[in-house]
Symmetry: C2
């Protein structure tokens, strides 16, 4: 492990798609939705701990999740959790980490990763990350990891590579294409899903901020001397209130000319929907994905049933349903209807405020 290699885990999301299992007080990254025995953020830490020493991790999260992060990753010291006062999308999040690392170690090389994805084949994944680190070390390159698409998913960003090299320069980014375009992308073979994993030298990404997001560069440069001091919190509060919310993809990756992609196929999923949870879960003889052995089903098929530990359920006559039970909210809805969860949340919030959100 190189002492110049750092891992930045982006863990600020307040995902509502898994409501009522995910809640504002405990969003997806802190849950074990797939029943692996570990939360997503814990799995993410362990995955990268094979490559990066524990003291070289930073987690960027919302202020309210600081204690949860330290609870799930007790290997971290409090100074390794960077707290955002407010979510401003990925560019400010990454800037906060990058300018912090530049101050700590100007030779730092950083991996950026979401906190809440699944990777099944960690051996292949580690090999790819190591290749990317080596490449980024030798070049002034902004590296992404591309996933071989298995279906024309319209919810992802697509990366088009420009040649057949293992590590190829990126030709183009396309966010959330329509179905027809996505189908063309999958057939063509040049397009890969954007997994939101980035590898670069800190000097390279700061150079990119300087060129493509000069406002952000100015704001974060100005508070460099406050970072790591007792003035950090107030300075960050100020910067986040002033800086524009923008994604790293839109703000930098789509504009820079030194962007490279390493494509791979290592059992990746962003586990972004109940549909993907269903796909990834073990099913019983009737294709039901059950959280544990206390789910008794009769004439019930192709359904997801998730209950708190110690609770049992008896369910008859549901086909293609999602049943999620928590201590204070029960949700029963067709699997085809999961995009309505946001509406349900709105209705509950209108009546009851934030209590159940």
């Amino acid at each position: 492990m190189s002492s110049n290699t750092y891992c930045v885990i982006m863990a600020g999301g307040i995902g509502t798609r898994f409501w009522p299992m995910s809640r504002q007080a405990k969003p997806k990254q802190f849950l074990d939705i797939l029943g692996t025995g570990k939360s997503f953020i814990r799995s993410t830490f362990e995955r990268f701990a094979a490559i990066v020493p524990a003291e070289n991790f930073l987690v960027v999260t919302n202020r309210r999740y600081r204690d949860l992060v330290l609870e799930h990753i007790p290997e971290l010291g409090p100074q390794q959790v960077l707290c955002e006062p407010i979510g401003r999308n990925t560019a400010p999040c990454i800037a906060y980490a990058a300018y912090t690392l530049r101050k700590a170690n100007p030779d730092a090389e950083m991996i950026v990763t979401p906190a809440d994805h699944l990777i099944l084949n960690e051996t292949d994944f580690h090999a790819i990350i190591r290749e990317c680190l080596e490449f980024a070390d030798r070049h002034d390159a902004l590296m992404t990891v591309g996933i071989k698409p298995s279906r024309p998913d319209t919810g992802y960003g697509y990366i088009q590579k420009s040649n057949n090299d293992v590590i190829s320069r990126v030709k183009c980014f396309t966010e959330k294409p329509d179905l027809e375009l996505a189908q063309t992308f999958v057939q063509c073979g040049e397009f890969f899903w954007n997994a939101g994993i980035f590898i670069w030298k800190v000097s390279s990404i700061i150079e990119a901020f300087c060129r493509h997001l000069p406002e952000h560069h100015a704001l974060f440069s100005a508070i460099m001397e406050d970072l790591g001091t007792e003035r950090e919190e107030a300075a960050i509060e100020q910067v986040f209130s002033e800086c524009r919310a923008i994604s790293i993809d839109y703000g930098i990756m789509e504009k820079a000319d030194n962007v490279y992609v390493r494509c791979g196929d290592f059992g990746w999923s962003d586990v972004g929907t109940w549909g993907s949870v269903y796909q990834l879960s073990r099913k019983d003889a009737y294709a039901n994905a059950k959280s544990h052995d206390g789910c008794y089903t009769y004439d019930t098929r192709n359904s997801i049933i998730s209950l708190p530990a110690g609770k049992i359920s008896v369910i008859k006559g549901l086909k293609d349903y999602i049943v999620v039970d928590t201590d204070d909210v029960l949700m029963i809805c067709p699997r085809s209807d999961e995009q309505s969860i946001k509406k349900y949340i709105d209705d509950v919030k209108f009546d009851k405020g934030d209590k159940y959100i």
Copy 2:
């Protein structure tokens, strides 16, 4: 109120039909399934407290429910709760109360009532009970209350009266007829549902035990001097282990020739099924019966939704369903399927023992 008038509440049931809401540890009589704000046993006590002074109540229940009875009816002294060591159907239950009352007051007149029925029109009901008390006081009569049947229910016992007097001698009892017979009964006009409410002098019912259930008479007569002493528990333990389980209907009412019925129509229900709970509940615009205002429904109709206080639910796409959620069991099944609840209980019990029963 006559100091000779007593009310005996039979509260020994371990009803499983409302599982998972009713549990062995807290069966139906201690629940407020209809959301009236009071348990069935509390409502039963209050209903008869208009006629009978509190010190003249006896509750016969299983030993394990003794404290629950005193909690729901704090007006009772501990000696007013008669504890059965084991359920032996209604004849031994009523004998226990009758022989206890004979010792306390040979002139006692007793009303016997189930603990878990609903009566909507209490004014009419009180008038009828008073009539019955008066009649039983003047005659050596075993009185029952008959309910004008509103449908050909095959789950009830039917009482045929022999003439058109307000209080008529009973011609015949018929337990749980088949549908065709039940339809004939309803059309005929001479048949009434047996509500399981009885009124008689203690001397009359003991005379009837002597004649029709001589074994039971012998067993209970033999322990008369133990009743009300510290030897009562052991004596009752012995009697209940020896005496035959038999209902009062089958053991006495169908055989005696001094049985009378007072028919009435006062909004009675035994609230014996989820179907009857649904009928009796307030429904929303889509005919859903909801336990409280935290039940959010979408494209959901004709369903019963019962949640613990403080819990909310979001339910989409259920028609004619029962959703019952408790702290440790969730049940979702079609309303047409409620007779399967016993099977569900068996399956859960087979796996998990009594924990969830």
